[in-house]
Amino acid sequence: MWTVYKKEIRSFLSSLTAYIVMIVFLLATGLLMWVIKGNTVFDLGTASMSVMFNVAPYVFIFLVSAVTMRSFSEEKRQGTLETLSTRPVTDLGVILGKYFANVTLIVFALIPTLIYYYSIYQLGQPIGNIDTGAMWGSYFGLILLGTAYTSMGLFASVLTENQIISLILSMVLCIFFYSILGWVGDIKALDVIGKSLSWFGLETHYYSLSRGVLDTRDVVFFGSFSVLFIWFTKLVYESRKW
């Protein structure tokens, strides 16, 4: 598993994927947070990073899907899946190697945004007047959200040889589980059904974590979500054996 992990990380670095993901994420959140008028920190006038944490899930949908789309599609198209799966590694090992490599990339994409935290920390009146607990909770939530997106991205990728289809499918899955299930909860007419459906949405659990409260239920939810989609991925990956 770690051999696959190392290989994936290397290929992120050598194909510039890693740098592009980091830069795009930093730029997208940075622009919305500081530059583009309307919702910037200065407009809101509060020392919080809520702008970034509201935008990041959507930026992630695109970025994570774009990175995971080639995970299996490319191997299928080039036929390297055949050499890979006739090596003495288990199918789960291959999938987990790719999964953790993608998650690592997400964590690294988040690290540069700590500059924003520092800036806001310094801008606070008085200095340091920022809800650090909520900030760490949000970061943690964002990473967990990234793991959920990754598992869906891998699943989309294992379904098809075509990277574009994989990208679109992955984004649709992410949007469905993040936004759409969140909106359903707001529909008054659906009442309890809507509320319970939205519980299965990622948004509910993400915002619950971003309040700075580490609720084990949320962590378990994200964990199970990944496990479920990794299991789906494994099923499809082994479909050649059916």
Binding site: V4, S14, E82, T86, P88
Partner: protein, 305 residues
């Protein structure tokens, strides 16, 4: 026994790709797995390397069952798939290190250097796989197949698409490896089998039609006499069938035929036939019965009488 196959069957829906084949390969043998395209060669190899499971039947590689001990089988098998898939963005050394680690090689660095020397990739070892010519890519394919020092090498059409020089080089390489390993190599090129293999298994439409040593196959068909004849005019198949002693007929070109018989004086017979019917004979050559003929006869590419 390195490879032991029993009643191996693979069906895709209603189509049977491999139909209950059985054979065994001893340690150190180089076996040619021969057959026309779509005969089931690749499917058999994919089953032996645990890429796809058989529909029915079993096989063991180095004593490990391909279904139950899949990981052990993979540890002992080196596999070069058809079309030689590679990660083209990787460097030669990087790729071999990766496959070595996957194969559980302890001292990867030393082993990579060893394999690079063995496949004579020294001059290309710092290049990206994308930059390599097809012949060198094929060598990398061979290198990755044997990086974990497997006892069995399964090579699916290792020389397809190479130029004649490269073909010769790859064949030499495979033959030199054969000294210590069991090798199963699939191909549809006869000369390849003649050049490398001790034994040949011929497969057609999922069934084994011959499994023997090369000399035996050749001797068995030594009683055949083949004649290539070019007539000055177009003759019907019916007319040609009237040549006494004729066994198989094959139309090579418009007026050129390849005929064979079990009668030793067959050439004379053809000549008499032409004279008696007043046909012009432009060319009349007796041919040695090559492996190619055996293959053609066995895989049904000839009009039998």
């Amino acid at each position: 026994m390195s490879i032991e196959v029993q009643q191996l069957t693979k069906r895709y829906g209603a189509q049977t790709a491999v139909n209950g084949i059985s054979f065994s390969i001893k340690k150190g043998e180089i076996v040619g797995f021969l057959g026309p395209n779509g005969a089931g060669k690749s499917t058999t190899m994919k089953m032996l390397t645990c890429f796809i499971p058989p529909t029915e039947g079993t096989a063991t590689v180095c004593g490990f069952d391909i279904g139950e001990k899949s990981i052990d089988v993979r540890k002992h098998v080196g596999y070069l798939p058809e079309h030689n898939p590679l990660y083209l963005d990787m460097y030669v050394k990087e790729y071999l290190t990766f496959t070595g680690e996957l194969g559980g090689v302890q001292n990867t660095k030393a082993r990579v250097a060893e394999v690079i020397a063995l496949t004579r990739l020294e001059r290309e070892q710092h290049k990206k796989l994308r930059q390599l010519s097809k012949g060198y890519r094929q060598r990398v394919g061979l290198a990755q197949a044997m990086i974990h020092n497997p006892d069995v090498l399964i090579l699916d059409e290792p020389t397809s698409g190479l130029d004649p020089n490269q073909v010769v080089e790859i064949r030499e390489l495979i033959r030199s490896l054969g000294a210590e390993k069991t090798i199963m190599i699939s191909t549809h090129i006869m000369q390849e089998v003649e050049a490398i293999c001790d034994r040949v298994i011929i497969i057609d439409k999922g069934n084994i039609v011959a499994d023997d040593k090369l000399e035996n196959l050749r001797n068995a068909s030594a009683t055949k006499f083949v004649v290539r004849v070019q007539f000055g005019s177009t003759l019907s198949l019916e007319k040609i069938k009237t040549i006494p002693g004729i066994k198989n007929i094959q139309n090579l070109e418009n007026n050129t035929w390849r005929l064979d018989s079990e009668v030793p004086e067959f050439r004379q017979a053809v000549s008499h036939f032409a004279l008696a019917n007043n046909y012009e004979v432009l060319e009349l050559v007796s041919e040695k019965n090559s492996l190619e003929d055996i293959f053609r006869t066995l895989t049904g590419n000839v009009d039998r009488i």
